[in-house]
């Protein structure tokens, strides 16, 4: 399944991926379609190895797709790589700075490449993150290294921010500091952010749209509030030989004796009545957390893929 976020008409796009595929020996990214409207904060959630980093690297022009097109601010990324990247700030957990040099040296280096570099903002970020500009990178902790790299990205005021698991491996305090700073960035309505994580809580805090990705495929893409509004978990007591009625988006999650747990991704007020008419009695109708919705989406996607392959 491929999906795109619904766009209001005439919304400008910061970036698009159309039919993007990339094959590796043991992994395929399949037919990815993603639209990132200007000013939105989109979360890319997926399990480890789902294809989040590959998707982001393709969007950044760091990896060339086997097929499909990628554009940023209306320009194709492949033929206009340097120009596209001048408006994109990219952070990824695998990225490293030069160990022997200081944060100040890196700031100077990045500033030489970006006319938009903001010295005052960089100084503020140094202060807020508790970093010492003269400190060599080899002496930084993991959290300080992440903060230093984010400083190098944020101080150039990129129009599009691509953040690949920025809070991975951070202690709660460092994670809080970084999320607070990102929330300040989000307040700038002209800034577009694509934020990947397998931690749904981080994504829930700052994102307004969410894309679920698993095994190289986009399995769902929607506004965060729509996910929370449309998904429900219903616990049912059912008679023997009960069969789930044909309700779109209904999925049997577990069964124990006469208890059934079903999830719905298109919940409507009349569905409980529909279930009752099938002979079931309803124990509870619960809203689901984003993490539960994510897990349920992944499991549904995998079952669908399995059925398709069979």
């Amino acid at each position: 399944m491929t999906a795109t976020l619904e766009l209001p008409t005439a919304t400008k796009l910061a970036a698009t991926l159309r039919g993007v595929s990339k094959s590796y020996r043991h992994f395929d990214l399949e037919n990815i379609d993603i639209d990132l409207p200007c000013g939105t904060v989109t979360g890319l959630i997926g399990p480890n190895g789902a294809g989040k980093s590959t998707t982001m690297r393709i969007l950044m022009g760091l990896v060339r797709p086997d097929s499909g097109t990628v554009s940023a601010f209306g320009q194709p990324v492949s033929s206009n790589q340097a120009n596209a990247k001048s408006q994109i700030g990219y952070f990824c957990d695998d990225m490293r700075l030069y160990k022997s040099e200081s944060i100040a040296w890196h700031m100077q280096f990045v500033r030489s490449l970006f006319p938009s570099w903001d010295d005052d903002y960089a100084a503020q970020l140094l202060d807020r993150f508790g970093l010492v500009a003269e400190q060599a990178v080899k002496g930084l902790s993991h959290g300080q290294r992440v903060k230093a790299m984010l400083l190098l990205v944020l101080a150039r005021h990129p129009k599009l921010l691509i953040l690949d698991e920025p809070t991975n491996g951070l202690d709660p305090v460092a994670k809080h500091e970084i999320l607070i700073e990102l929330m300040k960035v989000v307040e700038d309505e002209n800034r577009t952010i694509l934020y990947s994580s397998h931690n749904t809580q981080d994504v829930e805090q700052i994102c307004d749209s969410i894309i679920f990705i698993d095994r190289g495929r986009v399995i769902a893409a929607q506004n965060k509030d729509d996910y929370l509004e449309e998904w429900r978990r219903i616990k049912l007591h059912v008679p023997e030989a009960w069969q789930p009625p044909a309700i779109p988006g209904l999925n049997l999650e577990s069964s124990f004796r006469n208890l059934r747990v079903v999830s719905l991704n298109r919940f409507q007020e009349d569905i409980p009545a529909h279930l009752r008419s099938s002979g079931a009695s309803i124990e509870s109708v619960e809203r689901m957390t984003l993490e539960e919705i994510f897990v349920s989406s992944v499991m549904r996607g995998r079952e669908e893929a399995k059925e398709t392959n069979e």
Partner: protein
């Protein structure tokens, strides 16, 4: 191609390699001075050191400037900046060549000057110097081709070992040639045909390697 970006990347790498570059420059000149001392054992040690500095600087600079960016994951940082694959590749090749050529040129120039200036040296001995230094440069260029193609330290070291074996064959071939041996003991510099043939082959290898490095590096689809 964006010349200002290439210049920034070039200067960045030149700055990052300043310490080994200075060390190889000083070690190279020191080795040349030793090689110029009129005492056979010390002069021989100096000669061996000149060759060692040329080989060691090549493998070290390829390792630190080219191969380690991939293993240290600093390449991801550089490529996240507004840098195209072509800019990155051209800057990288230029800086690797420059940093190698600085100590190489210093040693070549110093050895040549000594051959003409030192009272106990024979000017004819300068005839083997271009062949020797161009052999070292050609060997470095072949290592560079393998480093760029394979991005593997193991392969690059294997090629370096192969180059060292060939160097011994080359030295035996040059010094066992009666015509070259006679010229090296002469006060007049003349160019035996074998030296000219060797130089032609070496320059050919250097040119082909440079072309191969540029072609391979600039045609890579992904650097990450």
């Amino acid at each position: 191609m964006n010349a200002p970006i290439i210049q920034i990347l070039f200067l960045k790498d030149l700055f990052l390699s300043r310490r080994p570059l200075f060390a190889y420059f000083v070690a190279g000149l020191g080795s040349c001075v030793l090689a110029g001392i009129p005492q056979p054992t010390i002069a021989f040690i100096g000669f061996i050191l000149v060759v060692t500095v040329a080989i060691a600087s090549g493998i070290h600079l390829i390792g630190t400037l080219l191969l380690s960016e991939s293993t240290d994951q600093t390449r991801l940082f550089v490529m996240s900046l507004p840098v195209s694959l072509l800019d990155y590749s051209l800057a990288k090749i230029a800086v690797v060549l420059t940093t190698y050529l600085i100590p190489w040129l210093a040693m070549f120039a110093c050895s040549t000057i000594f051959a003409f200036v030192l009272p106990w040296a024979k000017p004819g001995s300068a005839v083997v110097l271009p062949a020797l230094f161009f052999f070292l440069l050609a060997s470095f260029m072949v290592q560079l081709v393998f480093a760029v193609v394979t991005e593997s330290v193991g392969w690059t070291i294997s090629v370096m070992v192969g180059g060292n074996v060939l160097l011994n064959v080359f030295l035996m071939m040059v010094f066992s040639d009666p015509e070259i041996a006679a010229v090296t003991k002469s006060d007049v510099l003349t160019w035996p045909p074998l030296i000219l043939q060797i130089l032609a082959v070496e320059i050919g290898v250097i040119a082909v390697s440079l072309l191969a490095v540029l072609l391979v590096q600039t045609r890579k689809r992904d650097l990450i």
